[in-house]
Amino acid sequence: MTEFFAMGGYAWYVWGSYGVTFLLISIEIVLLKNRSKKA
Amino acid sequence: MLDAARCVVVRDLLVAWRRRSDVATALLFFVIVASLFPLGVGAEPNLLRAIAPGVIWVAALLSSMLSLGRLFAADHADGTLEQMLLGAAPLGVIAAAKAFAHWLVSGLPLALIAPLIALQYDLPSSLYGMLALSLLLGTPVLSLLGAIGAALTLGLRGGGVLLSLLVLPLYVPVLIMGAGSLEMAAAGMGGQGQLLLHGAMLVVAAAFAPWAISAALRISSE
């Protein structure tokens, strides 16, 4: 399990990429849901 | 048609002459920006010679962009633009004429002053001709593309900065080819290829920009 998270030493880069992508997509979905509720 | 074009150019030049300080300010901006870079990066001659083409071109870009806001604003404010829209002359001709007049008072002086800046940067004098030529070919494209942006942002709040954001990405190929022609020439490889591409960009811009400018003017004037 730990080696999955370590990603061969590249954890910062791999999880930094996936994490930010996941975060930004979540933000877009949340903003869109809010906009949908307001409209 | 040519009468209308001549009329517009003469009128714009007259207006620019009456507001000479506006024109001079843009040129002064060009000189000042070009003078700032050595203060920022240090005055080492080899470095300056290397960055000279890029700096001169970026300064020309920014200076040309500064004067774009004035292109249609005055006419829009006093109703002349509406007269042009309703008039018999094709709007594309008028748009091209305005862009041409803009180039005469912003781009052409830049091309003439640039060798002085090149002197400051210790660019070899053999390159002055190529520098002037690349600016002469490139600045009309800046005027034409910039006119599209100016027409789109007519009367908007945040006008000047918004115009820059819209227009600078479109300026990138001109910048690359312009600075590139000088760098190639400086490296002894001859910059004719880039100059030809510049010429091609000018032809394409001259052919299509007037349509886009007149479409943008109609969109902004409703």
């Binding site: 979905i29 | 942002t153 954001l165 990405p169 590139g180 960009m201 886009a212």
Partner: protein, 230 residues
């Protein structure tokens, strides 16, 4: 003839809702499959180790960023030519998602570049063109935000999008030329000559997932726009 029936915002509204639901579900399923392939099926790369796994987000995001811009310009052109409101609304609905994917492509590409090529920002042709593409998206969004009248905003944005899409190949080739002139010393940017089938499959599945996601999000957004404009 059925196509034109959906050209009106009122009739398109329910269709958009249905599309959003189905494409959203498809996006979720495809993303799970793609991530599974990417992390558990595709082998470790010989040269780049685990860092290459960023490719499963980076390449699909870059594809979407360019694809969405073209689609956006297409709808913008239709709206400008035929004066249809819905086409222009579609262009406005697509733009934010396109900008998002452009940013993701730049971010993930930058993080991929650091361990593999030694630098966060190699100024190569593709990353530079992608950056300018981001500026084009942001310019479109800024222009539409600055105009209060919706119809003027639609048309102005449409013109800008069309001018932009015509310029993208010019920008790409000039940046590519610029880059070959200024090639950095140690940067070697050709992708691995061939790719393991599993890696390729993972990339394609993630690309489809992003595509379904984009459709779903654009449909929800266009419904919001339709409702906001009344």
């Amino acid at each position: 003839m059925k196509w034109f029936w959906y050209a009106s915002p009122q009739t398109f509204f329910p269709l958009a809702g249905t599309l959003a639901r189905w494409c959203g579900a498809a996006a979720g399923v495809l993303a799970l499959i793609g991530l599974y392939i990417g992390f558990f099926v595709a082998p470790t790369d010989a040269q780049q180790g685990e860092a290459y796994r960023i490719i499963f987000i980076h390449v699909p995001a870059a594809w979407m960023s360019m694809f969405l811009y073209v689609i956006m310009a297409f709808w913008a052109a239709i709206g400008l030519a035929f004066n249809t409101r819905l086409s222009a609304m579609m262009a406005s609905a697509i733009a934010p998602t396109g900008a998002l994917f452009t940013f993701i492509a730049l971010w993930t590409g930058s993080l991929w570049g650091k361990p593999t090529w030694g630098t966060y920002w190699p100024w190569d042709a593709r990353i530079t063109t992608e950056l300018i593409l981001l500026f084009l998206y942001l310019g479109f969004l800024a222009l539409q935000a600055a105009i209060d009248d919706p119809r003027r905003a639609d048309r102005a944005g449409a013109l800008l999008a069309i001018v932009g899409v015509v310029n993208v190949p010019i920008i790409y080739y000039s940046v590519q030329w610029w880059n070959t002139l200024h090639q950095g010393a140690s940067v070697s940017l050709t992708r691995a000559p061939s790719m393991a089938m599993t890696m390729f499959a993972g990339m394609i599945v993630m690309a489809l997932a992003f595509w379904m996601y984009s459709i779903a999000v654009a449909m929800v957004r266009v419904r919001c726009i339709i409702r906001e404009r009344g």
